[in-house]
Amino acid sequence: MAVTATTVPLDVALRMLLNGTKMTITLSLLSIGLGFLIGLPVALMETYGNKALKYAAMVYEGTIRGIPLLAIYFIIFFSMPILIGFGLSPFWAAVVGLGIRSSAYQSQIFRSGIQAVDEGQIEAGLSLGMSKLQVIRHIVLPQALRFSIPAWMNEYVIVLKDTSIALAIGIVELTREATYLVSVTAEPFRYYGLAALFYLVMVLPLTYLANYMGRKYGIKGTGGASNVRL
C-alpha cells in the first residue's frame, strides 16, 4: 500500500469538495448573521449616538477594518485563551472572527443606507410628534435597510469567499478539501480549479439574487442619477 501520487475518481473528489462546501456555507451564514446583529447597532450608534457612543462605534469599526482577517482569527483562536483564560473551538472562533470583521463593514453599509434617506422625512416625523426612537424605527430604518440590500448582498459574497481563510485555524472547508486532494494526487490545476468552480457556482446565483432583490425591494422613485439612461 505504498502511497504514490494517485488518481482519484471524480465522484470521490466531488464528495470531498461537497463536504467542504457544506462547512463554507454554514460558516458564511452564521458569520453574516453575527455581523448583522452587531453591525446595525454600531451603525445607529455612529449616526445617532451621543459623543461617547459615536466615538466607541468609530473606534470599533475603524480598528476591526484595519486588521487583516487572518490576524483576527489568530488573535481569537490562539491569543484569547492566554489573555482571558477562555478559548473557542476552531469553528466558533471562525464564526466570531469573520462575524466581527463583517460587522465592521456592515456598519458602514448601513450608515450609507441611512444617509440615503431624505432628511425632510425626519423633520416631518418629528413635527408630527414622533419621538427620536420612533422616527428611527418607523421612518429611517425601513428605508435605510432597503437601500442597503445590494451592498449587503455584496458583503455576503465577500464573507463566503473569506471563509477559506479559516483553514489556517483548522476549519476543513472547501479550499482545504481541495488541498487534501492536491497533496495526494499532485494535480493542483484540476482540484483547485474544481474548487474555484464550486465557489463560482455559489457566488453567481447570489449575484443574480442581489440584483433581483435590489429591484424588487428597492424603493420606487429613488435611485437618482441611475434612473436616467444616458
Binding site: 500500500m1 505504498a2 502511497v3 504514490t4 501520487a5 482519484v8 470521490v12 473528489a13 464528495r15 470531498m16 463536504n19 452564521l30 448573521g33 446583529l37 489568530f74 483562536f77 490562539f78 491569543s79 485563551p81 492566554i82 478559548g87 473557542l88 473551538s89 476552531p90 469553528f91 466558533w92 464564526v95 430604518l141 425601513p142 435597510l145 483553514l167 489556517a168 485555524i169 483548522g170 476543513v172 482545504r176 478539501e177 488541498t179 487534501y180 486532494l181 492536491v182 497533496s183 495526494v184 499532485a186 493542483p188 490545476f189
Partner: protein, 255 residues
C-alpha cells in the same frame, strides 16, 4: 418593516446560536482519555486525507495511534490544520502533541520540546526526466534556477549553501514547485526525499542527487511537558525496536 418578521428573525438567530453552543459544550464521556494530536494532512505518505474513506491517515498517524495506545490513552483525536499553525496551536493548548513530518531544528527547539528522532530524511534534487543536468555535488547547483517550498528545511539549506550563486524561486507548496519544474520555469527543485519519491513514478522527473542533510523528524509537545515527553520517548523506543516498525514502513513506503 413587519414586526413579526423581525421577531421571527431574532428567534431564528437565537435558536441557531443555541444549537451551535450545545454542540461546542461537547458530549465527551468523562472516563475516556483522549490524546489530541495536531497534524497537517498535506504531506503524504506521512499524513494525508484518504479520498476514499475521508479519514486522515498516514505513517505519522498510525505511529501516534500506536504510541497513544501504549501510554494508556483510549482514543486519539486528530486535529488537522495549516503546517505553520501547528506550533502556535501546541503552545495555546489546542493540541497535546504535534506529529507532522516536522524536522527538529534549533529554532523550533526554543519553543517546543521534541521527542527522540523517529525518521531521517534527506533533500532530493529533482530534474526533468529528459534533462541532462548532472548533479554530483552542491557546487553543480550554482548557476541554476532552483525551485523550493517556502519555510521548508530544503529552502533554508539551498539559501545557506548556494545562496547568491543561483536563482532561487520559492513556492507556497511543493506541488507548485513541481509544476514549475514541468513547465521549465526552474531547472531543478529541492525537496524532502519522501515527497520526491512519491511523484517520480507519476511524472516525467527523476532524482538527480540526494543531499544528505540528515534531517530528523520528531514529535513535538508543549515546552515543559516532560511527563508526556518521557512517555512518548519510551513508547517510541519500544516500537522502533519491534517488528511493528518494519510493518509500518512497509505499509506506507512499500518495500
Amino acid at each position: 418593516m413587519n414586526r413579526n418578521f423581525v421577531l421571527a428573525g431574532l428567534i431564528a438567530t437565537v435558536l441557531v446560536l443555541a444549537v451551535g453552543a450545545s454542540g461546542c459544550v461537547g458530549t465527551q464521556s468523562t472516563q475516556e482519555k483522549v490524546l489530541v494530536v495536531g497534524t497537517s494532512a498535506d504531506f503524504p505518505p506521512f499524513e494525508y486525507k484518504d479520498p476514499k474513506t475521508g479519514n486522515i491517515t498516514g505513517f505519522d498517524i498510525s505511529l501516534i495511534k500506536l504510541i497513544a495506545k501504549k501510554i494508556g490513552y483510549d482514543k486519539v483525536k486528530i486535529v488537522d490544520m495549516n503546517f505553520d499553525s501547528l506550533i502556535p496551536a501546541l503552545q495555546a493548548g489546542k493540541v497535546d502533541v504535534v506529529i507532522a513530518g516536522m524536522t527538529i531544528t534549533p529554532e523550533r527547539e526554543k519553543v517546543v520540546d521534541f521527542s527522540i528522532p523517529y525518521w531521517t530524511a534527506d533533500q532530493a534534487v529533482v530534474v526533468r526526466k529528459d534533462s541532462n543536468i548532472q548533479i554530483n555535488s552542491i557546487k553543480d547547483l550554482y548557476g541554476k534556477t532552483i525551485g523550493v517550498e517556502t519555510g521548508t528545511t530544503g529552502a533554508i539549506y539551498v539559501k545557506d549553501h548556494v545562496g547568491k550563486n543561483a536563482t532561487i524561486k520559492e513556492y507556497s507548496t511543493y506541488v507548485a514547485a513541481l509544476e514549475a519544474l514541468l513547465n521549465g520555469q526552474v531547472d531543478v527543485i529541492v525537496l524532502d526525499s519522501p515527497v520526491a519519491n512519491m511523484f517520480v513514478h507519476k511524472y516525467p522527473v527523476k532524482i538527480a542527487y540526494t543531499i544528505k542533510t540528515n534531517e530528523h523528524y520528531g514529535i513535538a509537545v508543549r515546552k515543559g511537558n516532560t511527563k508526556l515527553l518521557n512517555e512518548i520517548n519510551q513508547a517510541l523506543k519500544e516500537i522502533m525496536n519491534s517488528p511493528q516498525w518494519e510493518q509500518l514502513i512497509k505499509e506506507y513506503f512499500g518495500s
